[in-house]
Amino acid sequence: MPARKFVNSDIPDFSQQAHIDKVGVEERVSRFQKRSIKNESKLQGLKMILNMIDLTTLEGKDTPGKVKQMCYKAAHLHDAHPGLPTVAAVCVYPAMVATAKKAVEGSDVKVASVSTAFPSGQAPRKVKLDDTKFAVDNGADEIDMVISRGKFLEGDYNFVFDEIAAIKEACGNARLKVILETGELVTLDNVRRASDIALYAGADFIKTSTGKIQPAATMQVTYTMLEAIRDYKLKTGIQVGMKPAGGISNSKLALHYLVMVKETLGEEWLTNEWFRFGASSLANDVLMQILKTETGVYQSSDYFSID
């Protein structure tokens, strides 16, 4: 999937935006969790989830060895059980992109790199651009940038918009995911506004969180962002992806997210080109659920590789 072209037209006034009905969102979200999913659909859903995961390691203590190990896991989720897909991508720091790129060579796994002084985003624009270019030059297929939450909360929406647009330009052919860090945006109104800014500024994906701040992804926040994506598609005809990240660690919750995507955006989004899960521990839980569904026996994490 090539990165979208930047379209600079019909940009709305971001300060004039409808309020989000928080109670309504909660009500709607709670319904997604009550759908009955039969075994066969569940199995299909679980495999789809595996294929949508961005397997992530974003620690200060990351080493090339750790990254290689994770990349191996990304392409060989559970070799004891043939017929499983790979994950969508691995997500690493810019310094690890070259290592990761080499490690996933020959598989369908993409390399995503966080950038723009992740996770705080507190750096001059020049540094952020260099950070991004470094990752792209090293072969990153996707860039996960963070927005300047401080500027956003100050109301300096132009700054945030221009910054995203500038990073988008630096990305070249790499697809850009814009992290809103919704845990710092406080209200759903802000989440919706930040989503709109990112969408109009050229994001290929919008993403909830860095995973470093609590709360990370919640269904309420993701739903608000999905609605922004839907409205943007209706208005401009451009399809943008969604990536909830952080805090989604079990299969059941991930299935609820799939239900939400299907019922909010439609089946077009149910591929890893348009929907991702940012997670590190989700993959093993999904694997255990798949084996449980197929064998009827509850599984133990002792028999699944850690990374």
């Binding site: 009827g296 026996v297 509850y298 599984q299 133990s300 994490s301 002792d302 028999y303």
Partner: protein
């Protein structure tokens, strides 16, 4: 005027909490005289799953506690049980024992806890060893807890068989999922309340009530259960347990002991749920015979 009786709701015990069964089903066992004992949770395999998850989660903290601390906590359970003697005696009588038998069973249960409390910081020395080897290694073996242990109690005694198996299992640093007696479940649930108020961390002991036939299989097949203590005294059940547990080669220990006897409390019940770890530690030749000093 007679006061309206407040009947107790018997719930299950998972992860330090008292949920109702996720299945929402109940059954009503009766006493020997045909009186209803209460509405008891008919747990499902999903409750087994939840209990195993809770037990696994609790294992790290429990097995790494100082042996002395585990001993203190077991002693504390005994203290709490002592304080609630009357309640247990009443329940046992309600379930069909006479007053003397009931009193005896409660007292034996308390003593059994004290017995295993004493073992907590001693069994490792007794079970461990330094082994002679023909190379420059210091070679020693010590015991480590197996992990999550399933405990299936027998129908006959309600409290004593429960305590006689839980105590050695947790004294050895394991966590457990207990299937209470199907016919006489009252004391098991009340014992959970004792555990809850005696410093035992949530998840170390999880207690489920319900039909044995329904719950044994998911427990025996569960890949995250490391061993099973079987007190059913039923050949068919024992055979089924051994067959279903091959997936992860669980250790199955089946007992046929009279728990009322003093001989039924033993170090072996602790070592039944221990793995032996042997360490080869390379050293210079330290034998005195070859010393040139």
């Amino acid at each position: 005027m007679d006061r309206l009786k407040v009947l107790k709701t018997y719930k299950i015990y998972i992860g330090g909490k008292f949920p109702r069964t996720e299945s929402g089903r109940y059954y009503t066992p009766t006493s020997g005289k045909g009186e209803a004992l209460g509405n008891i949770c008919l747990s499902s395999r999903k409750d087994v799953r939840n209990a195993v998850v809770a037990a696994r989660k609790a294992l790290g903290d429990w097995s790494e506690r100082a042996a002395f601390n585990r001993s203190q906590i077991l002693y504390r359970i005994a203290e709490m049980l002592e304080g609630r003697k009357e309640q247990f005696t009443e329940e046992l009588v309600f379930q069909g024992l006479n007053a003397k038998q009931a009193k005896n069973e409660v007292e034996l249960s308390i003593d059994r806890l004290i017995y295993y409390a004493g073992w907590c910081d001693k069994y490792q020395q007794i079970l461990g060893s330094v082994n002679p080897v023909a190379s420059s290694h210091f070679n020693f073996s010590n015991s480590e807890p197996m992990g999550v242990v399933g405990i299936i109690t027998e129908g006959g005694t309600s409290l004593l068989s429960l305590v006689s198996l839980i105590a050695p299992v947790i004294a050895g640093g394991n966590t457990c999922v207990v299937l209470a007696s199907e016919e006489k479940p009252l004391c098991a649930v009340t014992f959970a309340e004792v555990l809850h108020s005696s410093d035992v961390p949530g998840g170390v002991v999880n207690i489920l009530t319900g039909q044995r036939n329904e719950l044994i299989k998911p427990l025996a097949e569960h890949m995250d259960v490391n061993a099973i203590a079987n007190d059913t005294r039923d050949k068919e059940v024992t055979l089924m347990l051994e067959e279903s547990s091959v997936g992860n080669l669980k250790r199955i220990r089946s007992y046929d002991l009279n728990w009322e006897k003093y001989e039924s409390q033993h170090l072996h019940l602790i070592s039944d749920f221990q793995e032996v770890k042997t360490t080869w530690h390379p050293i210079e030749n330290i034998g005195g015979a070859s010393s040139t000093y």
